[in-house]
Symmetry: D2
Subunit: 294 residues, 4 copies
């Protein structure tokens, strides 16, 4: 099993100006990302606008991604759907596309019905049938559902559930999770603002949307952590926090894609109902990026 | 345009014990529902587990429903998808299946990006292209997004946006909405616990999940309101509140389907990750229904 | 025991420009309020800035209020403090000042410790020792704690707990409460936007902050309800909603006091950290009031 | 000005079995705490049940505390009241009792009125008149109000506002705050579960309720941080998280006092409406403490 350590990027799915998949742009991005120190990629995650793609498009993206991702680097694929059966089916498809891991978001439409019993039943069914190892995905800002450390620990007992992307940004959840799971369970944060403290406390790495345009900065923090350069890690973390809050959190996927375009990547456009940043937002993003490059 | 006044049922989609669509059960239910005083139906809504159906299944359900619904009664169809394009496409399909109205849930995955501007852009695009009139659908308990009265009023200016199902249960939103929109805009509550007060304050009707198993009670409240029998309306409303809270709210779609089975309908099972009520819950539902029939 | 039926005003405590109690202004207000159809008054409630008064000031206000309130009209006094002992002591003082009812807010600083057991223990101790009947007060927008219908019903079993002011504005809580308590338990809403529907469903009345400057409008709704003039009640309710949302909810106590000054009452100033409306807000309040008087 | 670096304990106020202040118990506790490596104390904070004390009791506690706290150790005193004038007055009293710092909680009863403008006005008035330096106190779990990093940075510009106790437990707020304020502004976390990551990212220390019964463990983490023993710090942090979540968070002040009694301190009882742990909770606390001592 390929290692889940280090910085992973939750990649965007580029669309051209007419809203169609832009696979050339995707490949161009990989040719740049592959030089940044990233440990691997999450394809078809939230930032990849997976909810805006139909199945055929998803398979096209997966094929192009796998072709562009070096064989030794893990390709994690977002495979969560609303129903258990749909998740099971798409996880199998992703495995056939040479995905290394399936990242499975908590089901969330019927929020009050998503009891620990329902979630356990769901994740066990998915993990039982998945040909590839499963990662949990807790992202309450999108789903309204946060996995508790106790439930994560219970789910981690399944032999085919091998890790979690926790995007809650709640350090207490992260620490408590680490204290409850076995050491080989991969705890990855999805929250750039807490990357360095997460590593310090025992997270093996992170899967980050800012990896699309600030992969090198993320990697520097990881390297500084590994080589115990606390001062560097701390300073770079403060920069990363600002970039993450002011671009990714404030302007969402559109903000990330716009920043990519400025920095030589090919972000392209978003699909409606998402909107690209308006003029004011564009100016703010440009200024933000300038301030970090000067 | 068929009238949107009175009680509509947000119907379940019955599945057999293997989880497959049970169209016979659906037809059997309609033969009972059609005798209850209901004004029409919502097909493929939240309670219909629309998120658990693929497109082919949706079209099968629509065909069977249209066949079972008397021609003079409106068939409202839930057509909201994550992307604007997907919503536009499925709304057209629904119109081809002789839907009378499209009910379009707020897009909600990227919650913080769903600004008034993004929602307006979305609904206008859908309404511009829809062959049938559009109803807004605000259901924060499932989506995390509540349409404000101000935004509803703005959206109501579009000639093809003709009403709203507001399931927030927030009477202030309902009253304020009614005070802001033109009289022909249909304000329907999706919250059974506030049916009678909603009517009193000017709502034209309701689209209710409890309509699956308590349509007659809902209709009695509507009739009592129309004939100004305040005491009857109030008493029946207290009953409806209890049924709604103790069955629909507490046990979700599984609770509704189990209650249907008890009462001679054919609820069938739910699709995972939803669970049917456990033994304790079944006993509670049975007791609750007994207490209302005695 | 004086009746708790009709519209009660949750009166402000006027301060002069130096921030001192302005008892003359208070008396002048009563001389106007007493002609509006109000059924009684809540003194030292949230709107009365009770948290900004020391004990001596509270007693001064109580004395002046009792003197100004006709003997047949109930004077309800807010007596809730943080500790049980402090609440017990001040409730006794209020009774000595001829209060008719004690309104006791949920204790709330240690929110997560305020379990049903803790709240029951609290309210029973207060009710056991209070010389006057006790009203519960649930106001989650200020306290972060909402009393559930089940807990209200349990507390209502105490012979000296005779009613509730529910300011949650949640109609479901109100209806469910009414369905659970004995008929002589007084359910009063504290939410002007839902006054008429609350009456329709069985509330005996309301205790309202907008009673400070719109007592007559509130009373008209109550009268229209009593005489079954549904159209009038509904129309006036829409007006009341707007006034309440645009003045009381948006600008708080300062907004209420400013509106009072415009309408011939003597609101005076607020105590810091509250602020009076700024110039923009003042203009908006003036325009809002003009639109209702023309 | 005495240094605000290291671990501070937010001390409890012991009451005897009749609910009266137990000053002997307080002094006995100090004689133990003073040997644990603590850098100083917060007196009359949330954990000190300041809301359950009258002014005379507060002054009694302050006198006893100052007598027991070595002269070189800072005594921080919670001085926030509901009104600005009351806070100003009590802050002066605290200074007269030889407090070194005033910790001023955000005013919070009128939550929606506590805009940045209102909070700035409040804190500047308090800081302008305070004879001693002021610390901000953000504790949303009790107040419903969280100070944002931007507002903290603005308030930090006042020369007499010298630090913050942030009990939100939100690492993003902490990091962003540190990135915005000048280096001499003291950022102290109030959240034991994130102590070590907070230090790593630049917090100068912490003010902790668990300091009442686990001061040594907190101090070990601080020492391990200072001497760059990452493994020790991490391991002790996991222990501290569990103690904090399972005793302080789960059972509140009563849990802390019960744990103190077990460990040789004199916690005593809590004041109503708080309750002491019931039998089940007592057993759990005892078991939790045993597991850490074996």
């Amino acid at each position: 099993m390929k290692s889940l350590q280090g910085i992973f990027s939750a990649i965007v799915t580029p669309f051209d100006s007419s809203g169609q998949l832009d696979i050339e742009a995707l490949k161009a991005n990989f040719s740049l990302w592959n030089k940044t120190g990233l440990a691997g990629y999450l394809v078809l995650g939230s930032t990849g606008e997976v909810v805006h793609l139909d199945e055929k498009e998803k398979l096209t993206v997966l094929a192009a991604a796998r072709e562009s991702i070096p064989a030794h680097m893990p390709m994690i694929v977002g495979t969560g759907m609303h129903s258990t059966d749909a998740t099971v089916a798409f996880t199998k498809l992703a495995a056939q596309c040479a995905a290394d891991y399936a990242l499975v978001v908590t089901p969330h439409y019927f929020k009050s019905s998503m009891t620990p019993a329902a979630l356990t039943n769901y994740y066990y069914k998915v993990a039982d049938t998945s040909p590839i190892p499963v990662l949990l995905y807790s992202v309450p800002q999108f789903t309204g559902i946060a996995l508790s450390p106790e439930l994560i620990a219970k789910l981690a007992e399944h032999p085919n559930i091998v890790g979690i992307k926790d995007s809650s940004g709640d350090m207490r959840v992260l620490i408590q999770t680490i204290s409850l799971v076995k050491p080989e369970f991969s705890v990855l944060t999805g929250s750039a603002p807490i990357l360095y403290p997460a590593l310090i406390i025992g997270a093996q790495g992170a899967i980050l949307a800012v990896g699309n345009f600030a992969a090198k900065l993320c990697y520097e923090i990881f390297q500084a952590f590994c080589s115990q350069q606390a001062e560097t890690a701390r300073n770079q973390q403060l920069k990363l926090l600002t970039l993450s809050e002011q671009i990714a959190s404030r302007y969402g996927v559109g903000g990330i894609k716009y920043a990519m375009d400025i920095l030589g990547y090919r972000g392209g456009t978003v699909r409606s109902p998402l909107l690209m940043p308006d003029q004011t937002a564009q100016t703010a993003i440009q200024a933000m990026l300038n301030s970090f490059q000067s």
